[in-house]
Amino acid sequence: MAIVPKPERHADRDEKVSPGKLHATQYIVVLVLAALAAGMWRLQILGADSYRVLAEANRIRKIPVLAPRGKIFDREGRILVDNYPSVSCYLLREQGKDLNADIPLIARGLDLPAEQIQATLRRYASSPKYVPIPLKQDITPDEQAFIEAHRNELPELETLDEQRRLYPRDGFAAHLIGYVGELSAEDLNSSKYDFYEPGDVVGKSGVEETYDAILRGTDGSRDVVVDSHGKEVGQLGQQLAIPGHDLRLTIDLDVQRAAEQSMEGHNGALVAMDPHTGEILAMVSRPTYDPNQFSVRLSKDYWSQIVNNPDHPMMNKTIQAQLAPGSTFKIIMSLAGLEEGVAQTMHVMCNGGATFYGRFFACDQRHGMVDIDHAIPWSCDTFYYTLANKLGIETIAKYATEVGLSQKTGVDLPDEAAGTMPSTAWKMKTQHEQWYAGETISVGIGQGAIQVTPLQLARALGGIASGGALKRPHVVFPDELPPDMLSAVQSTFPGSGDRVIPITPENWQTITDAMAATLGPGGTAGAVHLEGIDFAGKTGTAELVSHSAGAKSLGTGNERANAWFVGMAPRRNPDIVVAVLCEHGGWGAEAAAPLAAQVINAFVNKQRKQEGNVLQLTDAPKPAASPAANPNGVPTASVTAAVRPSAAKAAAVKQP
């Protein structure tokens, strides 16, 4: 202990510390404590209000409560679209933590690419900090466990219970129902989404899109008290979520099911409608897609599979396919011819075609002498070439426009196509050329520039069969909508709407009887005759290869003719009209008519079961044109043979 010298007590030196120094220490104590008190003054008196706000922000967290979307039912209240509970992961940014540092860990735990998280963060950089960022939807139990286990390290992760859309499987009614998806930044630029926020889930197609305002509810929120680990320890207040309204569609699940089954494996569309009201009973487009894939995360594989499919699975072909109607157009031709007083007295000799303006136009058979009663069931082209030539394009266009062609029907579904009805004015406008009389001839059999959608055809032919009463097609009952919603929908989807075109009763009877004869012995679709059902209709085979050469040809592959059929039951004032399109299906009677027959059969059987009135539909008059009364001497034997399915081929040969 050498460094510590031994003190000598009572030595002749100062035995006291100088009082001045001790006094000075008192001042030091006062000064130092005053400085500390000043620091407290700064925080607790001057900064109290702002620190109080920070303390509140610390412990109170606004947690969104998502409103469940309304369910969708068929006309009888059977469920089409339901919700299922699911958990989503959100990222909170209120804690002022550097989130970028956590990205690798989050990316690993949630199985997300780090770049994607960074991109999401950037996307939300300009939105207020209290807005939670949706990170991943429909997370797995494993991912949920990861979030729970990392509450301390990753307090910014928050899970949220949500209700997710559960659509029918296998793309059932997919085009009609549509799907929901998250709003993207680009979507928000559209004025349509003025009242939405990024990340909102909205209907993006079909009924989901049209009726989004009804189906979506109003999200609520809860102010919860949390501790520093983000653990909820209490609740201050809440704003309840208002669930979306349920929606009842005009769709009949039984008819839809029959339609889905009949269209299985085909490429095309089928729409069934009640012509009395315009209520759509079934709507099928093929190929279809799985909307469930869209409601969570669309996988790249599935998306490329969809966009690379040449048959356009995302397209609702009932309202978006614009194609030549082929011979189904002959009904509209017949209407024009009869109403103009031309067709009643017309007798045309069919020798397998005729020459107009120096060019030969072929018919697929030699029908002999044909009048209007036979022209429809036999679908004689020669008759309609002649009729078209007599009427002229302007008259044809007038009637076609009256029954709704070249206009949207106004169906309450997004992105309906209008189709095309050629006329002199149309040609001048689009091609700056004169209309040549020779062009009118092919229009007479529904070829050329004329384009229709299946729904337009169903409405037009169903309307003619209903004595000229055309209805606005719709998938939701208008009287079940709030008035403002109804007017909003009708102004969003303008169309030709409800309209009555005058049809002389005799002409109406002539056309409808002839359509029934189409399904009768000798008719083009006699093979699909439904026993005991007053089934009427018209086939169509729209050629895709040019028939300017004068010869008719079905074509092959992508150039194979489109098969059409529009059928209804009963023949006059029908309860159902079904339009079927089979793209590249070939003959309308072979490919399309049986599909419509299945749907009508299902519909009528159901109707009879419900009404207990088996006789109602069979009361209709027998087809007026029986083969025996055929004035044109067509061999009766071959026509009667066509009634039996075994002779379907023979009957099919003669349909254009």
Partner: protein
Amino acid sequence: MPRLSTFRDFDWMLFSLVSLMSILSVLEIKSATLHTRFRGFDHRQIGFLLVGIGLMFLISLIDYHRLADIAPWAYGIGLLSLVAVRLVGTRVMGGKRWINLGGGVHFQPSEWVKLILILAIARYFWGLAGRRLHWLDIAKAFALVGVPMYLVLKQPDLGTALTYLPVLAVGLFLGGIRPKQTAVLLLLFAILGGGAWLSGKRLKTYQMARINSFINPDTDPRGTGYQIRQSLIAVGSGGLWGKGTNQGTQTQGDFLPIPYTDFIFAAFCEEHGFVGGVGILLLYFLILMRLIENAQQASDLPGAFIVMGVAGVLLFQIVVNIGMVVGLMPVTGIPLPLMSYGGSSILFTFAALGIVMNIRMRRFVN
């Protein structure tokens, strides 16, 4: 030497102030641990306090001259124990500070070395009493404090090591350092500190990180910046009157880090406001003034040195801790004397007060 010391001369005033402080401490620890897994620490604190008070009475019976006499020996043993910690100490979260004595009792030599240093410095300057300090005297004083300080820094325990500094400062100040010498020393420190800063050896930052991870073994994933921020929010949001006992959202919501030890003053200020916080400062003021008064009345030089050493250490801890809590000082991890939870801190404080009591009881001896 006649035995005139009696408990009649015991500093009951100081004892009352300290007891009041201890009661506030227990109440705040109770509130701050109410919703945590440290619930019940207030009871353990009461236990520490009772042991501390007992220790204080015991030590007050020992003549401080005898303590000063054995100071050189104690100093040697203290250094040995610090070395022993390095050799056989228990490593907890990267720092070797404890010697496990078995039976759940852990011995932390650095706290006792603090007490020994107060005695040793008093003894040293007693020996120099009245003489003008030469540079050699000053250098010896530095060595006296520097050696144990270096050993503690190496544990590493920056917080405790820093508390050795006021002992040296008080010794030099009272021992008669001249203004010129003070100026030269300050200049020297400025150059050394600046040089260390420029050469990139930011010892403090490095130490702080190590210490923080030790002080908060529950892991502090959010850094010292977060701690300070939460502390400022706690103090500031308390306002004039505070949010009330058990009502501090920062304290109860676990936003405030370790609200029962290092940040107990923030918890107290949140729940009892500026008024409560200033009340605590006032109590400290009275305690420190009482200590200085005791130093003035001490019968001889070593008595005054010891009392002032204790006062210096307490003031230093108060300034560094409260300064940290209100954002005037960096985070160092020094507990607030008489407030923070913890056995070592309490036992040191009460042992030191015990010596002060003895000095007061003997003030009329000469």
